[in-house]
Amino acid sequence: MKIIVCVKQVPDTAATMAVDNGAISWGDAPLIINPWDEFAVEAALNLAADQGGEVIALCLGKEGETEAIKHALAMGADSAVMVSDPALKGADNVAASKVLAAAIQKIGEADLVLFGQQSVDTDTGLLPVQTARLLKMPSLTLVSKFESVNPDDGKVQVLRSMEEAGQVVDSSLPAVVSVTKDYGEPRYPSFMGIRKASKAEFPIWSLADLGIEMPSSSIAWPEVTEPVQKEIVTEIIEGGTPEEKAKSLVEKLIAEKVL
């Protein structure tokens, strides 16, 4: 079974975001693997362990920004591919999905393509669906569990976890799956894995290697502004007894249409 897991490097979630000259900036925050992608890597590793097969980490990014790929390798991915090209600077997710789809086709014969459900920097959650459409594969989003996977029969059954319901879905393989954090805690990289990852070599493909031109972006961000600061008003609920305070609190919450 061949599983491709798409990973992305993002600024450390502890970093402070600011708007600088009309663009979003994380300052000199270190890059990390997108935390959502760790769940996808965990799922890929478990599936490969159960079914036999290989896990290939695929990353689109600047050459040298290898944090996400190395993290996936340190967790246990068998190999990795990086796609990097100066022309990709500023690519939106439509363009990114076209590049990823081309890379997935070049790797070839994937049974499953896994993504984290979204990235913490752009937060769109669109890439898995867009990539699935381009690959003409079924798109299974918000998956928290693989009920069964049968690559020989070309079938997979997953549990989708949505806010108010779970949904069991049968699908054919190959398929594109986005994995939620309900899948289960991702493992930490092992020290052995860290050593392997730090010395791992992997191909870096340009757009020319993929045989494609730079796809045009459909979206631009002509203006980015800081979020409006909300004024917070604090009010002490008065009352002689806890019951009176509770009654007063409920009345205020109803008046503010919170309840």
Binding site: P30, I32, T66, K70, H71, A74, E185, Y188, P189, S190, F191, M192, I194, R195, A197, S198
Partner: protein, 401 residues
């Protein structure tokens, strides 16, 4: 000269930071209130390979270098000192002593299960009547056929009740010219008949850790368990301190960072006199000092780690790192309490725990007064490193992995 951490080091740092933040931080304040080490701590550290991080793979370890050991210590003490103490005692005093002084048979028998985390080790050196004056310890071992018979008491021993094995230094010769010449070190199975042990309660700090005493009453230890040769105990023990102090220094650096982060966070949200207290220069001075101390302490321990990687004696550098970092960590924690005002006096915030925890490291593994004397002796050319029979091996990526 390269001050940057390698990708490998950065990944080690992040892995341990994530582990401690996710799995220990949420409950550490409560564990500190309750007292004693949570039962999941040591098994999980073993499972993650932390207990054998700087031991060659062929001896059951993870084959990482000494810089990694320092980074792990810093990250663990950023969350709580009790975690780093496990590293100092199990990895520093026990595993690295075995790596340096152990025979191949001893390494196979003791180091392999310790590095795998299947067994836990501790260093039993201090006694009720001898700490800084270590040469005058009272515990004894007398030769009896092919065995030695140990008697005496060791106190302030971290992991005393959690460990399976102890590296124990005792007096084997009462008639030497100098007291330090009559000492020998043994590997002792703490399940041996004649050993009793217990925890010490009522500690100022490291309450989420394990500190205790071990009593030896006619404990029979095979002669093959001598670590080093008879009479080499002082050198073995001082070597153990070179390893242990390194982790103490790195850990204290993590505590400075914890105090700094907590202070920054509080100062940027606390209003007084119509502004945030982070805008006040007296608060800024305290935070600036913490930041300076963090940078200095970090450079000191990383230099000591770099020397260890090269296989160069580092008693002077490790002692300086330990002295500076532990003094600075107490100062940083105390100032963090001050910045937090009355809230700092409460265990609602972590800074009072940082302050209580920081004090111990100024006393154990050689008090800072002893570190001061060591530095004076080096500075005044009264002390030069003498060659010892076994040096701590340098880090060799080829043979360690």
């Amino acid at each position: 000269m390269d001050f940057g951490l390698s990708k490998e080091h950065q990944m080690v740092q992040r892995m341990v930071r994530d582990y401690a933040a996710k799995e220990v931080q949420p409950t550490i304040q409560e564990q500190d209130r309750v007292g004693g080490m949570a039962p999941f701590i040591i098994p999980r550290m073993a499972e993650l390979g932390i207990l054998g991080i700087t031991i060659p793979v062929k001896y059951g370890g993870q084959g990482m270098d000494y810089i990694s050991l320092g980074l792990v210590s810093e990250e663990l003490e950023f969350i709580d000192t009790s975690l780093r103490v496990v590293i100092s005692v199990h990895n520093g005093l026990t595993c690295l002593s075995l790596l340096q002084w152990g025979s191949e048979e001893q390494k196979e028998k003791y180091l392999v299960p310790l590095a795998k985390g299947e067994k836990i080790g501790c260093g039993a050196f201090t006694e009720p009547g001898a700490g800084s004056d270590f040469a005058h310890i009272q515990a004894t071992a007398k030769k009896d056929g092919r065995d030695y018979i140990l008697n005496g008491e060791k106190m302030w021993i971290s992991l005393a009740t959690a460990a399976n094995f102890a590296v124990v230094t005792v007096r084997t010769d009462q008639k030497t010219d100098q007291a330090y010449q009559g000492l020998s070190t043994f590997l002792v199975d703490l399940g041996s008949p004649g050993i009793t042990r217990g925890d010490i309660h009522g500690k100022l700090g490291v309450r989420a850790g394990s500190t205790g005493w071990i009593n030896f009453q006619d404990v029979r230890v095979p002669a093959e368990n001598l670590l080093g040769e008879e009479g080499e105990g002082f050198k073995v023990t001082m070597s153990a301190f070179d390893s242990g102090r390194y982790t103490v220094a790195a850990g204290a650096t993590g505590l400075i960072r914890a105090a700094l982060e907590a202070s920054k966070s509080y100062a940027e949200e606390r209003d007084a006199f119509g502004g945030k207290i982070s805008d006040f220069q007296l608060i800024q001075a305290k935070i600036a000092r913490m930041s300076l101390d963090y940078q200095a302490a970090r450079l000191l321990y990383l230099k000591a780690g770099w020397l260890k990687n090269q296989g160069v004696r580092n008693t002077r550098e490790t002692s300086a790192a330990k002295w500076y970092a532990t003094d600075a960590s107490f100062r940083a924690a105390a100032e963090a309490v001050q910045i937090h005002g009355a809230y700092g006096f409460s265990d609602e915030y972590p800074v009072e725990r940082f302050m209580r925890n920081a004090k111990g490291a100024m006393i154990y593994e050689g008090s800072n007064e002893i570190q001061s004397l060591i530095q004076a002796d080096y500075a005044l050319d009264k002390r030069r490193d003498k060659k010892i029979r076994r040096e701590l091996p340098p880090y060799d990526h080829q043979t360690w992995t």
